[in-house]
């Protein structure tokens, strides 16, 4: 009988290490997600209704200073105001080509409790960059919300959620959980 050695890829190993590590982090409560969101972590949200999902979290934490950074701003501040978000505490940045620099600066400043962005993810650069954002958000204790069109397999995000809006509430599927 021959023995077949299955070699896992580096990415798979990283994911396994991540899921084995259990470090309790301080969490911010959220009525739609009972476990709450861990501070200093990357939370990737996708699906139709993702922006509303995040805005409802911000509504529940009116004291949070928020940086809303996008390459080209498409967020409608008035709709955020309608959702009950305290817009005086939200700083909007239209970063253009300097998106990565802006996110770095915002996280390094340590002034924000939450940062929302919609990075267009590119397989080549994303891992390193995301890892940097993750370390920076860990250091500043900020929630880093990444709004994606689709969830990509990556070991960096601490939490990956696929949401879909229903008539009453949201359908939330947790596709990945690491060190949460």
């Amino acid at each position: 009988m021959s023995l077949v050695l299955v070699k896992p890829s580096l990415e798979e190993l990283r994911q396994l290490i991540g899921s084995a590590q259990h470090l309790e982090r301080e969490k911010s409560d959220f009525s739609l997600f009972r476990e709450g969101f861990p501070k200093g972590s990357i939370i990737e949200v996708s699906g139709f209704g993702k922006t509303e999902f995040v805005s409802l979290f911000l509504k529940e934490h009116p004291d949070f200073k928020v940086a809303w950074i996008e390459k080209e701003l498409t967020i409608n501040p008035y709709a955020l105001f309608q959702k009950g978000v305290r817009t005086e505490n939200v700083l909007f940045i239209e970063a253009g080509k300097q998106l990565a620099w802006c996110i770095n600066q915002a996280l390094q400043s340590g002034c924000f409790q939450a940062l929302v962005t919609n990075l267009k993810r590119d397989r080549q650069t994303e891992e390193k960059e995301l890892r940097r954002y993750q370390l920076l958000s860990e250091r500043s204790g900020a929630h880093f919300f990444l709004l994606s069109e689709e969830l990509h397999p990556s070991w960096v995000p601490n939490l990956q959620l696929k949401v879909s809006k229903k008539k009453l509430g949201f359908n939330i599927e947790t596709t990945k959980r690491r060190m949460v």
Binding site: T51, F81, F92
Partner: protein, 427 residues
């Protein structure tokens, strides 16, 4: 009257120094390039003389200056006190007559006559002002004519100096010239000087009750062949108030470094200046002694905002101020600072969280909806809302409706005479 005279050790740009002290009193006068007079008698309800002197010394230290201070009831006596560091008017030497005759240094052509008069008085044994006042006014006028009489009356406290209205400069500029024999070929000497210049710029603006929103750093290159290349300009944008000069310096240094890296300076620098291009009102902020941490946080927040605004432009970083309007694109506007105005009452139907920068025309093809490179099948149409523009604007009528697609997207479209347009998405 309480007059303070500041005598500077080195010749200075007195206009800029007068602007710094304009905050303390509007009654400011200058003598040559070393003396500054401030009438603070009308402001003693706001501060005492002692407080004023302490503040003045701190301000001068910030601006990197040293000065001698004289305080008296009139301009010439304050000037004499500052020059001679004495505090007894009657014990002042007779040489100070020149200050009483011409305290603002405007009649230097008559200084020879005053000198002669002083020498004559000294030969007669008149050593101090007290001795001088022993003469009667008639004796003085017959022997020394109007020059002596004017000085005599001023010592007596009559015929005071007329204060002229001081006008601060419209444009604030701080300039520094490097030694022409050794112009600068790296940025270090510029940064070394920049701190004091930023401090001075801030103090001058505060004198006018303003602060800088935007300023240019202009580096003059020594042998630039093309006149357009001679001035190397870097714009710094300070989006939020209460930014300390330390933070401004950091932001400026970062910006200069980045720009020089991208476009190196070709020639040596002979001169550099700061030019304030946009001023806005300065509002004082009381120091919170019980929560120093908050102040530190605010400082780093302001630093972050200024740094981003300098790199991306002031319009790219903002707070949103809500406005009452039925037109979705006019519902809010970009503001540099968080609004202190009350929020409007929301009377509108639900607006989408995502708005496109400009509406995109869509086409219906059976049950299918097409726009740009997207095709989706329409599942339902709902929520009709008719929006009109304000009566004073161009007439506009849009019928808004929400489209739910088979993929689950909720799009926000409007219909006009020109067709259907996609404006946003309920994401």
């Amino acid at each position: 009257m309480t007059v303070v005279c500041l005598e500077f050790e080195q010749p200075q740009n007195m206009q800029s120094l007068a602007e710094i002290f304009y905050r303390a009193t509007p009654q400011v006068m200058i003598r040559g390039d070393r003396f500054l007079f401030l009438d603070i008698s009308k402001c003693l309800g706001l501060y005492s003389v002692n407080t004023f002197i302490k503040r003045t010394l701190v301000t001068l230290r910030k601006a990197g200056l040293r000065a001698r201070v004289g305080i008296a009831e009139d301009v010439p006596t304050a000037l004499s006190f500052a020059v001679l560091e004495q505090h007894n008017k009657m014990e002042l030497p007779i040489e100070t007559l020149k200050y009483y005759f011409d305290p603002l240094g405007e009649q230097m052509d008559l200084s020879q006559k005053v000198h002669k008069m002083t020498e004559l008085l000294k030969s007669l044994g008149v050593r101090t002002l007290k001795d001088f006042l022993k003469f009667s006014a008639r004796e003085i006028s017959t022997r020394f004519s109007t020059i002596g009489l004017l000085a005599y009356y001023r010592i007596m406290g009559e015929n005071p100096v007329q204060w002229k209205a001081f006008k601060p400069s419209e444009v604030i500029t701080e300039r520094h010239e490097f030694d022409l024999e050794s112009p600068v070929d790296n940025l270090e000497p510029i940064y070394f000087k920049m701190k004091t210049m930023i401090d001075r710029m801030q103090l001058r603006l505060r004198g006018k009750g303003k602060r800088a929103r935007q300023f240019d750093i202009i580096l003059r290159q020594e042998h630039a062949l093309n006149p357009a290349e001679q001035d190397y300009k870097i714009s710094i944008c300070l989006q939020l108030p209460y930014v300390s000069s330390k933070v401004i310096l950091q932001v400026a240094k970062e910006m200069v470094d980045a720009q020089v890296q991208a476009k190196p300076i070709k020639h040596r620098i002979s001169e550099f200046s700061l030019l304030v291009t946009e001023e806005i009102p300065y509002s004082m902020n009381q120091k919170d002694l019980f929560n120093q941490h908050k102040e530190e946080n605010e400082e780093s927040f302001f630093q972050f905002v200024s740094r981003v605004a300098t790199r991306l432009g002031s319009k790219s970083i903002f707070f949103a101020r809500m406005r009452e309007s039925y037109i979705p694109e006019n519902n809010w506007q970009r503001d540099a600072e968080p609004t202190k105005m009350p929020l409007p009452v929301d009377r509108l139907a639900e607006r989408p969280l995502r708005l496109l920068p400009s509406p995109v025309q869509v086409h219906f093809w059976g049950k299918h909806l097409c726009w740009d490179d997207n095709v989706d099948e329409v599942e339902s149409l709902e929520n009709r809302e008719i929006v009109f523009s304000e009566w004073w604007e161009n007439s506009l009528e849009r019928v808004y409706y929400r489209v739910t697609t088979k993929k689950g997207r909720q799009l926000w479209l409007f219909r006009t005479a020109q067709g259907d347009f996609l404006q946003g998405e309920f994401d």
